[in-house]
């Protein structure tokens, strides 16, 4: 028998609630659910086939489609891109950029790569001391200028240093900024012009709700995002923000931050998220 609209209503609503409770943005949830509906309405189902199970399976596939974008493998990129590779980290205030850079540096070092950090946050109180401490603990070179310096200049210097000393990867930190601040978003555009970054990584937190969509949109406009990292997943969040960001940027989630220590970073696995959402 053919599946009709109203057969799906209850299951779809339940699943939409599940998405919303997991921090998937309203606009994104609605779009995913709408696609599931389009896919199922008019199709045939066998007698006794549970509509709820059919809908959930279609939803899982729908979400996988959102998450499996442009299959970027971070490790492959690092391996195959000519050195030095420059990676710039962007995002709003407090999402975990600086800590994430330290984690990525730790991971790369353990994989045998040489890493240089660029102290691109030349603005916030204690920013230099924070990244200095990380560089010291990790045993990596930090390129820095005085407070108030032009971030593009610091990052540029770090890349020159990496080239001269044959270092593999430059991880460039930037100051947190709110996307409503035109000057600061223009500053990112300038960094994009001056620095030919191999990867631009957007860092946002799993705790964020609907605003993750607006942030991803604005940051993507200022400095085209190649991939994102979702932090603070360990704060019991279901991780739905990953779906909002992947959907908005059409770019993959590269890693998840799962704690405050250097080892607390894992490659993003879409199946993990599906388990969190549905099991």
């Amino acid at each position: 028998r053919e599946i009709k609209d109203k057969d799906l209503e209850e299951s779809l609503w339940d699943l939409e609630i599940a998405l919303l409770e997991s921090d998937v943005a309203v606009s994104v949830s609605e779009e995913i659910i709408e696609n599931v509906k389009k896919e199922l309405v008019g199709t045939k189902r066998k007698w006794r086939q549970d509509i709820g199970a059919l809908v959930e399976q279609a939803l899982r596939n729908g979400i996988l489609q959102v998450l499996d974008v442009n299959g970027l493998d971070f490790d492959e990129i690092i391996k195959n891109t000519p050195k030095p590779i420059t990676i710039v980290f962007t995002g709003i205030n407090g999402t975990g950029k600086t800590t994430t850079i330290a984690k990525v540096a730790y991971r790369l070092k353990n994989q045998g790569y040489s890493v240089v950090l660029a102290a691109g946050d030349t603005y916030r109180a204690g920013a230099l001391e924070q990244i200095e401490r990380h560089a010291e603990r990790l045993g990596v070179k930090l390129v820095k200028h005085q407070q108030g310096a032009d971030p593009a200049a610091v990052i540029y210097d770090a890349v020159q240093y990496a080239r001269a000393k044959h270092k593999d990867v430059v991880l460039a930190d930037t100051a947190g900024r709110i996307h409503t601040n035109v000057n600061l978003m223009n500053q990112l555009k300038k960094i994009e012009r001056v620095i030919d970054a191999d990867l631009v990584v957007f860092v946002d937190e799993a705790l964020a709700g609907n605003d993750a969509v607006e942030r991803a949109l604005q940051f993507n406009t200022a400095m085209a995002i190649d991939g994102s990292i979702l932090t603070k997943v360990d704060a019991d969040s279901k991780g739905g923000t990953a779906i909002s960001i992947a959907h908005t940027t059409s770019k993959p989630i590269l890693f998840l931050g799962i704690g405050q220590n250097y080892e607390d970073i894992v490659k993003f696995d879409p199946q993990w998220l599906l388990t969190r959402l549905f099991d």
Binding site: I17, L20, E21, S22, D23, A25, V26, S27, I92, N93, G94, T95, G96, R124, A125, G126, A127, L128, E129, Q130, I131, E132, R133, H134, R137, I178, H179, T180, N181, E205, L207, A208, G209, N210, D211, A212, E214, R215, K232, D234, A235, D236, S237, K238, T241, Q260
Partner: protein
């Protein structure tokens, strides 16, 4: 003064001179969508919708309100009730502790609050009880230096409780002592214990949860946990210079039964305002 998108929704009721259930259902669905998009807790939205619908149907339209006005008033009243009264801080000798999730803006807010007291003529002092985050001591001491407010910290000491005890003893001649703590979340049980210990030793009179305005569905649960640990006396909502609607903060105060004292509206020390419910609600529904 509801946001423009909700005002359009409510136009559906504009021409009616009585509320019919079918239109009301449509309107409530739109209200739900607005609240959910604003990050209000899902369960809370469901409770609110139920109440709004019941009230809209059973409350008699007093002669002068049309159905649209009637529903607007109900939504507004329900949200105001959830927010509670704005929290006002005493201008007497007391100790304040600031707690919250990682990166929410505690350190920056501590100095903003110190400045608030300083402007009121009180002698404020700040204690750095974050022994975990690299550069925490430098960040806080640099900010304090900018407004010439006393700062106490021990950069080599990893015992936050000890530092707090020393600080309290040292800062006897100050009116308001503010204790900045490290970020933590409900599942980090050792950190929750640390927070309790710091609060006990500080004997804090005001215990503020500093919450990022962009927080989603985790807000209620995290606020509940912080409240269970040290008993919150208020919430400070940060980063409202962004585009987040703040429904998480609303959910948090509704869950805990406290109110909002201040809001942070930028990175500089002056980006700090007393909380105003009307402005918050119209932003939430915008």
């Amino acid at each position: 003064n509801l946001g423009s998108s909700l005002r359009d929704t409510l136009k559906k009721l504009a021409r009616a001179n009585r509320i019919d259930e079918k239109t009301l259902n449509e309107v409530v669905k739109d209200i739900q969508r607005a609240l959910l998009s604003a990050d209000v807790n899902v369960a809370l939205v469901q409770q609110l919708s139920k109440r709004i619908k019941e009230r809209a149907l059973k409350e008699e339209l007093s002669g002068k309100l049309n159905p649209r006005q009637h529903v607007i008033n109900i939504v507004y009243q329900e949200l105001v009730a959830l927010l509670g009264e704005p929290i006002t801080v005493p201008l007497t000798r007391h100790t304040v502790i600031l707690v919250g999730l990682q990166g929410s803006g505690k350190t920056t807010t501590t100095v903003k609050l110190a400045r608030f007291f300083q402007k009121k003529g009180l002698k404020a002092a700040v204690i750095c009880a974050d022994t975990f985050r690299p550069g925490a001591y430098d960040q806080l001491s640099q900010l304090c230096e900018r407004i010439d407010v006393a700062f106490y910290g021990e950069s080599e000491n990893t015992n936050a409780v000890e530092i707090t005890a020393h600080g309290i003893a040292e800062l006897k001649r100050h009116d308001v002592i503010l204790v900045d703590t490290a970020g933590r979340h409900a599942l980090e049980s050792d950190l929750v214990l640390e927070m309790k210990a710091i609060n006990d030793i500080a004997n804090a009179d005001q215990r503020f949860l500093v919450l990022d305005s962009g927080i989603g569905q985790q807000a209620s649960e995290q606020a509940r946990a912080f409240n269970a640990a040290i008993g919150l006396t208020g919430v400070i909502v940060t980063k409202l210079d962004g585009t987040a609607k703040g429904g998480g903060a609303l959910s948090a105060v509704a869950e805990v039964g406290t109110g909002i004292a201040f809001i942070g509206t930028g990175e500089t020390i002056d980006d700090f305002e007393k909380f105003e419910p009307d402005r918050f609600i119209s932003r939430l529904l915008g």
